[in-house]
Amino acid sequence: MLKKAILMVSVLAVILSACGGDDGEASSAADCEVGATDGDLNFYNWSEYIDPELITAFEDEYGVSVIESFYESNEAMLSQIQGGVSYDLIVPSDYMVNIMISEELLVELNKDAIPNFANMDSDFTSQPYDDGANYSAAYQYGTTGLGVNTALVGEDFEASWALVFDPALTSEYPGGVSLLNDPRETMGAALMYLGYSLNDADADHLAEAVALIQDAKDNIAAFDSDQYDESLTAGEVAVAHGYSGNMIVSIGEADNPDDYVYVLPEEGATLWIDNMAIPTNAASVCTAHTFIDFLLDAENGATLTNWNYYGSPNAASQEFLDQEVIDFYADTASANTEVIEDQGDYEINYTDALAEAKS
């Protein structure tokens, strides 16, 4: 019996030590020359987010290979990095950059090795999640708003969250509406409609938001984060809550693109910014710096944006952008937008709120 107990304890100890992996290394700016490489680039990115020709161009120019791996959520990426898997370059979103900085998972960038950093629009170097952009370089940005089928909703509508939350409106729409199946985005949308901030952390306000969604639920066809754009252009739903890039692509590919429009609600919408960052356990830190510099080049930045249809944070790239993309993001700068900030211990309440709203 005692033997068994000792075995159990030692097994647990091995597991725990394997899971801990905290070495508390102080991260200081890397010592890299401009254009230097120190091995192949292990690039961990969102899927369908970079033009393959940019990868090839980088490989040809610097004589290194780029190994691409993909993730579907910030949280999935975080757990890989925390699990000790080594990547040289990752693309975390705003709030995740903040989390990773406080967890000491990111290398401080050496701006001397990234001369093209000067191309960056200053709006993207002064974000609260990494003020001064010491650990991250903006990759692309986008918004979360509403795709509207004007053939079903009519041309004359107000760009408001009422399009998905007001039963007086939504009950008139054939097929109803769809919301993202994402606690922060969806509870955030409800909070904004109620006049609160996307980052509101008051339990009473959150309860109001839950009640709002419950009242609207009869006309909410789906909570969907994957096929909302296809559902919209297939006429399955009249209004879809979703991300700007997917919307613009799907609307462009629809049989009758003029019937669809993407709007940012006047009460406020999410602005999100994905960023290039280098994890502390990266093997090729200098190659990663060189790759960041390569993507921040004016023309390469434009190639990236013209391929994935998200917004470019690169001021020097603007003249090379397709008019379509420029038009699509023209309203974003003037719109009432907010970036999601991590709410620490309060964060778990959004998940339960959405689960409750769907009950």
Partner: protein
């Protein structure tokens, strides 16, 4: 005993010690043969499960990291939250409903198959298995089209002068998808039980003037019980944690256990609570299965 080598083994008197030795050697051999599978299971099943178990007592840091310290039962306390109970109840109801519908549909089919000539049986078995030739996700996407407002059901309704019908994004759609997906898992064990049944027992019952229904109730059905139990367990367990079907066909309109657990890991970054939920589901499932098998009165 002499120590020199011989071609022919010497006849040895069988003593209890020798027998025990031989048994031990056999056990050792059996162990070695089973070792690869055992090692695989320990590494990829037992250890991860143990990690989930350990994590369920850990603490979530304010940045969402799992702190392996301050071990506590908070995550288990949260299981008594009414929201969790509501979600669990809804999932159980859906799983029971799916299992019962699968059984009602499968039993007559399996009975029909088992009473055909062997050649027909095999052909029908292949037909039942055909859906497994393509990916479950792909087949679920196909259902999206079939049940959508522009799908064949809706078109038929419109052709007959009715309204367009959308079954997609309803509980009915989830049920249709689950029954469709898990039906073969019920047909196969029930068919296997019926096929290897001794049909002369049914004849005997009829000879003793049991009417058809009584013969089925008293002989056939009890004898097929192992298949029914195996099929029910095979359908019930995956349905309870179903994630893809409710999301794709039901539009995730109601929170089910699978969805809730996934959101703990991927949205709330609350691994301790997600782990505690998983452990609770496994424990409840284990208890339910043990009771079910015991009540079935036999092991498989």
């Amino acid at each position: 005993m002499s120590t020199e080598l011989r071609d022919e083994p010497e006849a040895v008197e069988v003593t209890p010690e020798l027998e025990a030795d031989a048994e031990r050697a056999q056990a050792r051999q059996g162990f070695l043969v089973a070792l690869p599978a055992l090692g695989y299971l320990i590494l990829f099943f037992a250890v991860p499960l143990l990690i989930v178990f350990v994590y369920s007592f850990a603490t979530r840091s304010s940045t969402g990291r799992t702190l392996l310290q301050d071990w506590n039962l908070d995550s288990y306390r949260r299981l008594w939250d009414p929201l969790v109970g509501e979600i669990a109840l809804r999932s159980v109801v859906l799983a029971v409903l799916t299992t019962v519908i699968c059984l009602l549909l499968s039993y007559p089919l399996a009975y029909y198959m088992a009473t055909r000539p062997p050649k027909t049986r095999n052909l029908m078995m292949v037909l039942v298995l055909i859906p497994f030739w393509s990916n479950f996700l792909v087949r679920t996407y196909a259902w999206r089209v079939l049940l959508g407002s522009d799908g064949p059901i809706s078109q038929l309704s419109q052709a007959l002068g009715g309204e367009p019908i959308r079954i997609l994004f309803t509980n009915t759609a989830v049920l249709i998808g689950l029954v469709y997906g898990f039906l073969p898992l019920m047909v196969i064990p029930v068919y296997a039980a019926l096929e290897r049944m001794d049909w002369s027992l049914v004849e005997a019952a009829r000879d003793l003037y049991a009417p058809g229904w009584a013969a089925f109730r008293k002989v056939t059905f009890p004898l097929s019980m192992p298949g029914v139990i195996a099929g029910s367990v095979l359908v019930f367990i995956p349905t309870l944690g179903a994630y893809v079907t409710p999301a794709l066909l039901g539009g995730a309109r109601t929170t089910l256990l699978g969805d809730y657990i996934v959101s703990q890991f991927l949205a709330a970054r609350n691994q301790p609570f997600g782990s505690a939920l998983s452990v609770a589901v496994m424990v409840v499932m284990l208890i339910a299965v043990v009771i079910y098998f015991r009540r079935g009165g036999r092991t498989l």
